[in-house]
Amino acid sequence: MIELIIGLLATTMATSTVLILASIGETIVERGGLLNLSIEGTMLIGAFLGFLGAYFTGNLWLGLLMAIIGGIITTLIFGLLVVKLNLNQVISGLAINLLTYGLCLYFFRYTFSQGAMPYLKELIYPLPIPFLSQIPIIGPILFNQTIFVYIALISAPFIYYLLFRTSFGLKLRAIGEDPSIAYRLGINVNKIRYMALILEGILVGMAGGMLCLSMFNVFDVRITGAKGFIAISIVILGRWNPIGALGGAIIFGFTEALSLWVGTLIIGPLSASMSQLLSTLPYSVAIIALLIGGRRAKGPAGLGSPFLKE
């Protein structure tokens, strides 16, 4: 039994990692006053380019690099629309989600029009940390994971430091509260926002890449399954704080791991039914959590509003 629970918690760390990376990325950008709904499409591009890169070069790390570059390009396109052209952030985000979905579907079918479903021959395997991974219980859960998990765990305090202890973070948060005042104080609003978007692109692209390079060895246009939107809910529940996002992401990762776990645990006809029913769990939990915890959530004052230089 104890092994099963350790297995569940170790899976939780893996499923959480995608959400940790994405919600921390979104936290950075929302602190600068931009509501980026295109995070779903950004993650999809990361997964798609990660898969293509790894499939054609045979090198998983080149795949990861492609995923990150794809993530940066997608967030910069969002930046072009909402920072440079000042378009509606909600609609621009949705537009990019549709656009990336169409592009990935089109080019995936175009590239692999014939033959069997393409798959990667290997995945990025766990990298056990010497000594630490030998600790009973905690070792296999925390220290026998892929590099993504370590990056995600380290990035939470790192981004916290960046946001709350550096001048970049101070400027970014000032922009998030009121971009016009920040502009009058001499802060280069657009430049700081682009920098935040690039950081988000790296993190979310990596999260997408992780889906194809270390969790599933195949690509499907539905692979992200609203994880981007769950990440946005986590940002609210974590009160726009990377440490809060880390905690929230682990809770959601647990619900996802639970539905995978039940599928393997119970044998027989009940298993498929239970597993399918539990697949609604992360989404329902998100709604209920927002209903309870979203009430007094107060984000950056300027979140989502356009910024026009006089």
């Binding site: 509501l35 709904l37 629309l81 052209l85 378009l87 509606n88 909600v90 609609i91 621009s92 949705l94 537009a95 990019i96 989600n97 549709l98 656009l99 990336t100 979905y101 169409g102 592009l103 990935c104 579907l105 089109y106 080019f107 995936f108 079918r109 175009y110 029009s113 399954g225 609203a226 939107f229 769950i230 946005i232 809910s233 609210i236 498929a272 039914s273 399918q276 029913l277 697949s279 609604t280 989404y283 329902s284 998100a286 709604i287 927002l290 209903l291 979203g294 009430r295 959530a297």
Partner: protein
């Protein structure tokens, strides 16, 4: 009238630029873009059967986007129409199955579908109006709850024992819309949507106090509040109406086309509706034309894909580009005016 021409300009400009950008994809994959657009047009309007099929496709999109238009006009971004559609279809099917054959089955099932969609939308509507929780996130996440839940229902408890697929039993024949044009799928629901629901929504949005309130809240909620409008209630009702119409669209698909509830009832009409509400610029007449337009693109693209051996995905791509171009069209129009390239 000036405003009307301006909206028309904007829509046509957005369509033209989107077509031009999509041509790049065709060229990249070695297809002739002119031929591609010819096949799309032919596949949508080539003969009577194809024309009726375009209307079959346009109907759920019309209903969804009419509802979304009200909520968008209120600046409430309901992106949960897909889930509301599924819930409406499911509840309507359950009502039809439990009522059996009777003269009222169709009417009551439609009412239940409307209530189902409205009830599903009332959850995010409450969260938005009362608790100030961003509706974009809640409505979207609720799509996944709805669709996963319905997939489960159809695969296990409600699965029809006669078939191998995850689908409900066949609804009673008195719950089925009669076919209007023989040898096609052109059913009564299409006429109801275009000839009754469309004028009703036009009236509601343009000629009633509620329509005025929606507009006022969308343009400036603070001013609306000073003017004595209950902003929260207006937002709530607008979102619930959009859910009701999405629910209706869902059951119209069951009653007019599928005759069973299936987990594939909508190939994304809830999302296409967003594009159409924006392209039609929240005007019901514009939305009617825009739904036929996008239905033609969807149907025509499958003909085009077959003829030119093109992969799927073009339709979603065009929709994404269309939204961006609608947003940009104001800017482009202003630029053209400044350069005096078009008449003011």
């Amino acid at each position: 009238m000036m405003e009307f021409y301006k909206s028309l300009y904007r829509a046509l400009l957005a369509i033209a630029i989107s077509f031009a950008i999509t041509s790049i994809l065709f060229v990249l994959t070695g297809a002739n873009p002119f031929l591609a657009y010819y096949y799309i047009f032919f596949g949508a309007f080539g003969d009577l059967l194809l024309i009726t099929e375009t209307f079959v496709r346009a109907t759920p999109i019309l209903l969804v986007s009419l509802g979304l238009a009200i909520s968008f006009k209120c600046k409430v971004w309901n992106i949960g129409a897909e889930g509301q559609l599924y819930i409406g279809a499911m509840i309507g099917t359950l009502a039809a199955l439990s009522m059996g054959e009777s003269s009222l089955t169709l009417l009551i099932s439609i009412l239940f579908a409307i209530l189902g969609g409205a009830a599903w939308a009332s959850i995010p509507a409450f969260m938005k109006a009362r608790l100030g929780i961003n509706e974009v996130i809640t409505t979207f996440l609720m799509n996944y709850v709805a669709i996963n839940l319905i997939q489960w229902l159809l695969a296990f408890p409600l699965k029809s024992p006669e078939t191998l697929f995850p689908e409900s039993a066949r609804i009673p024949s008195s719950a089925i819309f009669p076919i209007i044009i023989n040898h096609t799928r052109f059913h009564l629901g299409i006429l109801i949507s275009f000839l009754i629901i469309l004028p009703l929504m036009y009236f509601l949005m343009m000629k009633t106090t509620f329509g005025f309130k929606v507009k006022a809240v969308g343009e400036n909620p603070e001013a609306a509040r000073y003017g004595g409008i209950n902003v929260g209630r207006t937002i709530f009702i607008a979102l619930v109406i959009s859910g009701a119409l999405a629910g209706m669209a869902g059951f119209f698909e069951v009653s007019g086309i599928q005759y069973r509830m299936r987990p594939t009832i909508s190939p994304g009409y809830g999302y296409t509706g967003i594009v159409i509400a924006l392209l039609g610029q929240n005007n019901p007449i514009g939305i009617a034309f825009a739904s036929i337009f996008i239905a033609a693109i969807i149907n025509g693209s499958s003909t085009m894909s077959r003829m030119l051996n093109q992969p799927q995905g073009i339709v979603d791509f065009i929709q994404g580009v269309l939204i961006i171009m609608i947003l940009l069209s104001d800017m482009i129009l202003r630029y053209l005016e400044k350069k005096e390239l078009i008449l003011r």
